[in-house]
Symmetry: C2
Subunit: 141 residues, 2 copies
DNA sequence: GCTTGACCTTCCCACGGTGGGAAGCATTAG
DNA sequence: CTAATGCTTCCCACCGTGGGAAGGTCAAGC
């Protein structure tokens, strides 16, 4: 094994992924099927590892696998219009925003509920009352 | 079937859950095993439905099932100290906050990357460059 | 009555990602 | 040579939800 040819464990350490994830990404077609040593062990070159690092970065930025697939295709295509890249990223940013907004709304509601709860030994609790009262979904029963 | 005794479909409509979810929650022990009609169909009273509505509210506020279990136990226990309720809610609020912070950091980084991308027909793209450059995890290769 | 359609039952499978672990080779260090 | 890692493939788990098959039941219309 020379300096730029490594097995899955090494590739994992260098990329910050786990061997399990790398095999899984290969199975999904996110990375091409790895070449093998004669022993059958997967062989990674520095080029492969660079791809894995990009995947790791994208995962850390919250991209779902399918979008990373698109990003990788663009990354590897020297004729890509940067417009396409930006579209993918913008879509992801919008989804992040939506999720943030939704979670922030939850947080706000919960804080409003918790505000009036004394949090002592008494059983009276506006939080529980609120859970019963909020947002009816069907006809009253 | 009288006014306060209904089947799972009705209970679903009134609570805003789906029949599948109701069965799943029963399987998890979130709600007790439903009584049955002679036919074998599940039977729900207005009390059962109230529980389902509380669950729906809690799910909408982002509580994971296990925490809802705790909340329900407190809700049904008239001797609960409201402190316990507040603890559960506060823990959830903290987790929401953490997730919001993490997602906001992702969004910020992505916006920084996208800012300098022209988004035109040219293949030059600082986003892709950034994905390669950011955060190395192992020794350089 | 009998048929039809909507609903119920249980059962298994899928998703997205990740981890755990078993059984069987390969490699490496001592 | 042996012992410990580490690799391979395989299956199972998580969380929460949806889809759908195969079969039983209800309520309406004729």
């Amino acid at each position: 094994m020379n300096g730029s040819s490594m097995n899955i464990g090494q590739a994992a350490r260098v990329s910050g992924l786990s061997p399990k994830m790398i095999r899984y990404y290969e199975e999904l077609g996110l990375v091409p099927k790895a070449r093998r040593f004669v022993s059958g062990h997967r062989l990674y070159t520095s080029v492969d590892v660079q791809t894995l690092q990009v995947i790791k970065q994208a995962r850390d930025l919250g991209f779902p696998i399918e979008r990373i697939k698109k990003l990788l295709r663009l990354w590897q295509n020297r004729q890509r219009p940067s417009r396409r890249v930006k579209e993918v990223v913008d879509a992801h940013v919008r989804e992040l925003e939506e999720r943030i907004v939704r979670m922030h709304a939850m947080k706000r509601q919960l804080e409003a509920l918790a505000q009036d709860c004394l949090g002592d030994d008494s059983p009276d609790c506006p939080i529980l009352a609120g859970l019963q009262q909020y947002g009816r979904h069907g006809p009253e029963v």
